[in-house]
């Protein structure tokens, strides 16, 4: 007869080993866990490709023109500026609407007469605003025509002995003083958002399986018959969820930063320095959040009466990281903000990406609050594991 009881630490190790092995064999859970790490980088690539299309300088623009013979000077002006003029198809409006051609221009027959008479000519420029990829080309043509028109106007005023500046008393000169552009701002939100999401989503299925699943399968009673401290079972399970969370956030951070590093983002005027320090800062900032997320999910999932109920509740919890995106720039700001988990982590990362290293106090506050919540969640779960209604009740 051998009497053996394991210490807490060795018990935790045994439980962790088993749950991790079990979890890694659950391919459904793995697929869901990999969703966020895959989506983050894809999202960045997608955003980049749509933005890159729009902001690219159109190299080769063709323009079908109706009545090009009416305005030979205008046409040659356009041609000088790199626009290739085509003969128009029938029904240019319908064709543009149906995206068969990108755009078309209609020059009226009385163009020459009105220009000679010093009157105003209306030139129709047909575009399709739904087609964002042609926006830059359309802008270029509009600009060219306007500049041509302005020159004629100036000549007319000069011919009448009037200083052309009288007709244009104001000039607007755009000076872009922002650090990046819209894309940079979105990236600054997207990367922290996805890394925080990963901390939640990647351990969700595992958390459900090892708590609500264990109860629903009816294996909890047999498990707790083993002479190990109850807290060892809780911590073993909790650390399994934490491991999945951390693996997910590291994968997401690696993927997102690798994509940002690979894409020619500097062409869009964004200066994000990506190096091992950025990566380390990202991971260390979100780490306490992974501890908190796993703790909350283990607790909530243990409270649930069934696997399904637990999954439903947890899918709400996994959406928590999205909330800060909506409340961004709303309400007063201050150091106290960094005491709000999820919000604080995203804030810290946005600050860091924007080139402002936040004060250490904010960093510590953010981490400590999350770790405290994690600890409370683990304690409450351990109390649950001692309850008879938890072991036997469903």
């Amino acid at each position: 007869m051998t009497i053996k009881t394991l210490s807490v630490w060795r018990s935790i190790k045994v439980v962790l080993k088993k749950e991790a092995k079990d979890g890694l064999r659950d391919w459904k859970a793995i697929i869901i866990a990999l969703l966020i790490p895959a989506m983050g980088p894809l999202m960045i690539i997608w955003m980049f490709s749509t933005l890159a299309d729009v902001s690219e300088e159109p190299e080769y623009v063709t323009l079908p023109v109706v009545g090009s013979e009416n305005a030979p000077h205008l046409i040659s002006w356009l041609e000088q500026n790199g626009i290739t003029i085509h003969d128009p198809p029938d029904n240019p409006r319908e064709r543009v609407r149906d995206s068969i051609i990108d755009m078309a221009m209609v020059i009226p027959d009385d163009y020459q007469k009105k220009i000679s008479d010093g009157k105003r000519v209306t030139i129709e420029f047909i575009t399709n605003s739904e087609d964002r990829s042609t926006g830059a080309a359309a802008e270029k043509i509009t600009g060219l025509v306007e500049r041509y028109g302005a020159q004629i106007g100036m000549l007319r005023l000069l011919a009448r002995g009037v200083n052309p500046e009288i007709a244009s008393p104001m000039e607007v000169k755009e000076v872009d003083a922002s650090k990046g552009n819209a894309f940079a701002r979105d990236i600054l939100i997207i990367v922290p958002l996805y890394v925080c999401l990963a901390a939640f989503v990647c351990s969700m299925m595992v958390a459900v399986d090892i708590t609500a699943g264990e109860r629903e399968r009816g294996s909890i009673e047999t498990l707790l018959l083993n002479p190990n401290p109850r807290i060892a079972f809780v911590l073993g399970k909790y650390l399994t969820a934490v491991a999945f969370s951390i693996a997910g956030l590291i994968l997401t951070a690696t993927g997102s930063l690798a994509v940002l590093d690979y894409l020619p983002v500097e062409e869009l005027g964004i200066a994000i320095s990506i190096n091992s320090r950025t990566f380390a800062y990202l991971v260390i900032t979100v780490l306490p959040l992974a501890l908190m997320a796993s703790g909350l999910m283990i607790l909530v999932s243990s409270l649930a009466r069934s696997y399904k109920e637990s999954q439903a509740t947890l899918s709400f919890i996994t959406l928590l990281p999205v909330i800060p995106v909506f409340i961004e720039n709303v309400g007063p700001t201050g150091s106290w903000m960094y005491a709000i988990p999820i919000f604080s982590q995203q804030r810290l990362l946005v600050d860091a990406f924007a080139g402002e290293i936040p004060p250490n106090l904010h960093f510590i506050l953010s981490g400590v609050v999350s770790v405290i919540i994690a600890a409370v969640a683990v304690c409450l779960t351990t109390r649950l594991f001692h309850k008879e209604s938890f072991i036997f009740g469903r």
């Binding site: 053996k4 394991l6 079990d22 399968r217 009816g218 294996s219 002479p227």
Partner: protein, 244 residues
């Protein structure tokens, strides 16, 4: 040795176990017999330390199962009434997991695992995941992991539920072998034949109370009938005076 001394357990208004006392000795198979809802499962749960008693004590080899839970649990192997397995683990991994939780490792754990796999004739299924196992195969996994630490005391809650004849025979053979080795075995059942075929001593429980206990012969005698099933029915119906 397993001892229940005046165990009482109430769930809100219902008194599930109402002053149950009995003793299961070493080298014996003791049967806890009673109709459904008699309080057998509740009594067993207190004995293996998962339920607290409102009063009374449960002792395993003299160790209080409720005050010194871990110590008492290290002295028992148990098959509770829910026997869920982990679908994605193999039979061997189940046995190994429980062995590790009980503090075994390395070569000793391998030897014990292989020994049980041999005794329970589960070599062919040992390295298969348990997802598609039959009731009999699942029972073998459960027995193997309950016995991995070689416990002196064995508690089984309705162990033959859902088993076919072959599996039931394997289980009986296993229990008789354990008894021969001087182990203390306590099993619950609502099936008369099973208990009479296997048990040296019978404790009949009805409505949370022990209504009779003794060898099968003593039970027949006290109920005043030759047929054990008749005895069970008359005793279970609450004919207390006859028996005590």
């Amino acid at each position: 040795m397993i001892q229940a001394i005046n165990l009482v357990k109430k769930f809100k208004q219902v008194t599930a176990v109402d002053g149950v006392s009995f003793e299961a000795g070493d080298g014996e198979i003791t049967g806890l017999l009673g109709p459904n809802g008699a309080g057998k499962t509740t009594a067993l749960r207190m004995l293996y330390g998962l339920l607290s008693a409102d009063s009374g004590t449960a002792e395993i080899d003299g160790v209080d199962a409720l005050c010194r839970r871990q110590e008492a649990q290290s002295l028992i192997g148990a098959l509770p009434d829910t026997l869920g397995l982990y679908r994605r683990l193999t039979a061997r991994e189940h046995i190994r997991y429980f062995g590790e939780l009980r503090g075994f490792s390395g070569k000793e754990l391998e030897t014990r695992t292989n020994e049980l796999i041999g005794i329970l004739d589960m070599k062919e299924i040992a390295d298969r995941r348990v997802a598609g196992f039959s009731a009999g195969e699942r029972m073998k996994v459960n027995i193997a992991r309950a016995l991995i630490h070689g416990p002196q005391n064995m508690l089984l809650d309705e162990p033959t539920n859902g088993l076919d004849i072959m599996a039931t025979r394997t289980l009986r053979g296993m229990l008789l072998a354990l008894k021969k080795n001087g182990k203390c075995i306590l099993l619950s059942s609502h099936i008369m034949q099973e208990v009479s075929a296997l048990c040296d001593r019978i404790v009949i429980i009805s409505r949370g109370r022990v209504v009779a206990s003794g060898t099968p012969d003593e039970i027949r005698e006290s109920a005043g009938t030759d047929d054990l099933e008749d005895a069970f029915v008359s005793l279970a119906n609450g004919d207390f005076e006859v028996t005590q």
